[in-house]
Each structure stands twice: as structure tokens, then as C-alpha cells.
Symmetry: C2
Subunit: 279 residues, 2 copies
């Protein structure tokens, strides 16, 4: 497992691999790796000859009042967690390497970025799309793997790849949950045991709404109100959104259909948690 | 000379060439080819093994009141003009091929796009950057050639390439002028013989300002006033800008230095003409 921090070195290495016909697979991460990342990395191992994991806490996807400074960083711990997974290269650039002072180019996926988290995190998906495009240009993957917890991110990236004619297969991989149903996230380290109890109600509310849907309910307003009540009864009052939307356009719906996305974002003592399931 | 209109076909063809170690050179154009393009194409022939010329009138770089509909189009004439220049492939996609209905991803080079033409053509450089990024992803050139008449465009693209970590060498090529000094442009076909007389004063005003500079003048305000007077005396009253700016940042300057950019944009009976020289 080789650690590379220079963009040039990374590019010249993958250029060599590609010339010899190797298939590159990439798992982009912000570090603080958990079981969700481990699954992506294991899947990435199956899908390419050269497996690259990038670790970079991307400043441009954090708002001015968000947790960029405090975001958990533990490169050594991360390396230990993945040492037996067959990773060939860790790409861990510095901030200056990715964003030199004169940097000024940004990518936006205009419509998809507006929905769901877009309302509450202006500029977030611009930062995501920009850094992922850069990573794709640096690592030149044939396949890149992303977790479905960040479902909107996955859709933004898939749309960007199609719109910009990139030849990267972008694969989404199912959410990994703890025993109480809480979707794994690097931000879960911010939660006290008590907070975790409340947080586990987030996925419970999604399951309960889905149960309503399975019983025949189609009125999204009713289903959302029902879900919000569950959250509020569990003390989760700071809800950014709880929404049923089209799983491709992310536009919200009045009448739910099978396959729609049910997505939620809440804050528990300031920690933002998101989750989703498909109806 | 093969003509390709499909993105997939273009990509699979260049992928094959690149696998065998070929160097791709690209001259992106909007057609209506003139001597300036011919020079770029000849230079492109020297710089790569496979020479690709793209012809695509890009709708996203035209404003709602600009000349997208009337922009000169003459694919057959263009093909005749370049049949002996050793072009391997003409990439001439349809609008739907480049911008399918769901298209929504745009690139912006935030600071460079604001100066000069940016004030007068909002969204123009966003359209330019987006289509050029797409062309680079489709044609995968090692080297791409652009005319220096569109100096701001050249700088926007060079900045985008660096910021997004693309491995494309972006080469600018000197302006070609007619015998009266008028910079060649596809839009010159809009001009009557009388208009051309006025138009030739545009480059004259630049040369006169440069002469002032060479004689020791450094006050850009004085130099610009002097240049505007020359234009107005020649009946060119519709001046978008006449400006002396830093040749890299395009920020305007109070005191001129050797190497600065002197750039002008005027409208002659509605036809937009731009030109520039370096001090």
C-alpha cells in the first residue's frame, strides 16, 4: 500500500498502469473510515486491477458555519483499518495540492444540486462535484464507488459524468447500518450514547413511513407528517427535511410510487445526519 | 478525412489511437473557417499523430439576444477549405448529441470570466468552458490549439485545464489579419465593404496606443481615451470596452507594463468585433 500526496506523481503512475491495460478502481473518501467505506473498498477490489482510495477532507463542500475544522481526521487509524483490504494506493493530497491559491474553477449540476440538502447547504454540491471531477481527472478511474447514504451526491456525480462525457462507471453501494439501524457516518463520532438513541429513530421513521406505503398509502404529505411525529416524539425536533421524491430527478412528489426516494436530514445537537430508503 | 457525429464513436476511436501510443491534437472550431483556423489546423498537424478538427456552433455560449441562429454555418465549404491539410477526423456533432434534454452541468472559471467580454456577455465563458471541457473529454487531446484573437477564452481554458487537472497542452496561436489589419473572424462575413473600413480602425487604434506606450506613456486612462478618440473619429461609436489589463489575471491596470494586454470590443452595425495586442 503506497501513499501518494502529489497530483503529478498520481497521474504519472496511473498513466503507466492504463498504458499496460490495467483497470483502475477508485473509492473517494474524506477519511474517518467506517464499515460503510470498508464495504466500498472491498467491492472496489473486485472491480479493478489497481485499487485506489483517496482520502481528502474537501474544504469547498463545507459551508462557512459547518464542521470543516472539526471534521474527524485520523490518517494513521484509517491506514490500519484498511491494511488487509488489498488497497494498492492511498491518494492523500494536501489542501494546497488540490486547491492552489489561484484556483477558481467550479462545476455545478444545476437542477439536482437544488433539492434536498441543496436548500440547507448552499454550495455543498458544487464543492462535491468539483472535487470529484478533479479526482477523476487525477486518478482516471474506470469505476468509482460511492455510498448510497449520500444519495443526492451519488445522483449529482452520475449526472455530471454523463453531462461531461466522462468514461467512468459510477457505482452506488447500499447503506451500512449499526445494530440499531443508524446509518454509518464519519460524523457519528460526534454523538453521545444518548444522542445515538435519538439518532436511531431517524431510520425507524423511514421504515415506519415505508410500512405505510406498503399498506397502500400514497399521500406523501400524510406520510411525511406521520414520520415527523415519530421523530419529534423521540426528541428529534431539528429536521431539515423529510421528503418523498423522484429517485432520479429528486423533485418532490405529491403521490408516492414504488421506487421513490424517502430522504431525511436532521440535526442532533448540531450534528447533521442524513438517511434514506427507497419505497 | 472521416466525419464523425457520434460522441461514443469519437470516444471509442480515440481510445483505440491512444492505446497504440498515438498523440491526439485538437482544433476546436465553430466552423465558418478562415485563414486563422487554417493556421491552427496546420500547426495542429505538426503537433500530433492524429489531427481532429471539431465543428460545433455551441448554443450555450450565445446570449439570448446574440447571433446563434444567424451564425454562419457551411460544413461543405469548411470541408473543402481544409481537405488538403491532413485532417484525420472532423468531429461535427448535433446539438442534441452534445446537450441532451436532461443536460444540466456547467463549468465556470469564476474570476477570469468576469473581466472584459464577461461584463457584456453574461454566461458566455460558462458556455465556452463547458463545451471545451466536454470536447476534451470526448476527443482526449494531448494538445489543443486556440486563436489568440479570443484571448480571454484562451486564458479561461488554460486556467480550467490547470484547475481541473486535465493533461491537455493548450496552445494559443497569433491573430491572423487581413491586409487592412482587421483580425480575421467568422463574423466578418456580416460586414459590408463600408463596415470593413470602419472595422479596420479597430486594430489601428490598438497599434496607435501601443506606439504611445513605446514612446514612454504608462497612464492607461490617457492611452484608452486616446484610442477611443481614434475609434470615434472613424465612426466606431459603439465600444463595449477598450482596456489595458494584466495578461494573466485580466484585471485592469492604472499603469501599463511591457507585456500587458490591450483589448478592445466594439459593435459595428450590431456585429461584435474583438481584437487585442500585447504591449
Amino acid at each position: 500500500m503506497r501513499i501518494i500526496s502529489s497530483v503529478r506523481e498520481m497521474q504519472s503512475l496511473v498513466n503507466g498502469e492504463i498504458r499496460t491495460g490495467k483497470r483502475i478502481s477508485l473509492v473517494p473518501t474524506m477519511g474517518a473510515l467506517h464499515e460503510g467505506h470498508i464495504n466500498l473498498i472491498s467491492e472496489g477490489r473486485n472491480r479493478g486491477d489497481v485499487l485506489i482510495v483517496s482520502i481528502f477532507v474537501n474544504p469547498t463542500q463545507f459551508g462557512p458555519n459547518e464542521d470543516f475544522t472539526n471534521y474527524p481526521r485520523d490518517l494513521e487509524g484509517d491506514l490500519r483499518k484498511i491494511e488487509n483490504l488489498g488497497v494498492d494506493i492511498i491518494f492523500a493530497p494536501t489542501q494546497e495540492e488540490i486547491y492552489p491559491v489561484e484556483f477558481q474553477t467550479y462545476v455545478e449540476v444545476k437542477e439536482l444540486q437544488e433539492h434536498l440538502c441543496g436548500h440547507f447547504r448552499p454550495g455543498h454540491f458544487r464543492g462535491v462535484a468539483t472535487v470529484v471531477l478533479k479526482l477523476f481527472n487525477i486518478v482516471k478511474p474506470h469505476v468509482a464507488l460511492f455510498g448510497e447514504k449520500d444519495y443526492q451526491q451519488l445522483k449529482v456525480i452520475q449526472r455530471m459524468v454523463r453531462d461531461l462525457n466522462l468514461e467512468v462507471e459510477v457505482v452506488g453501494y447500499p447503506i451500512v447500518r449499526d445494530k440499531d439501524g443508524l446509518a454509518l457516518s464519519s460524523r457519528n463520532v460526534y454523538l453521545s450514547p444518548n444522542d445515538k438513541n435519538s439518532a436511531s429513530q431517524v431510520s425507524k421513521s423511514l421504515r415506519e413511513i415505508k410500512r405505510k406505503f406498503d399498506m397502500g398509502c400514497r399521500n406523501t404529505k400524510l406520510m411525511v407528517e406521520f414520520g415527523k411525529k415519530i421523530l419529534e416524539e423521540a426528541g428529534v425536533n431539528d429536521i431539515d427535511y423529510l421528503e418523498i421524491c423522484d429517485s432520479e430527478t429528486l423533485g418532490s412528489k405529491e403521490l408516492a410510487s414504488r421506487g421513490d426516494l424517502l430522504a431525511v436530514a436532521v440535526r442532533i445537537k448540531g450534528t447533521k445526519l442524513i438517511d434514506n430508503i427507497r419505497l
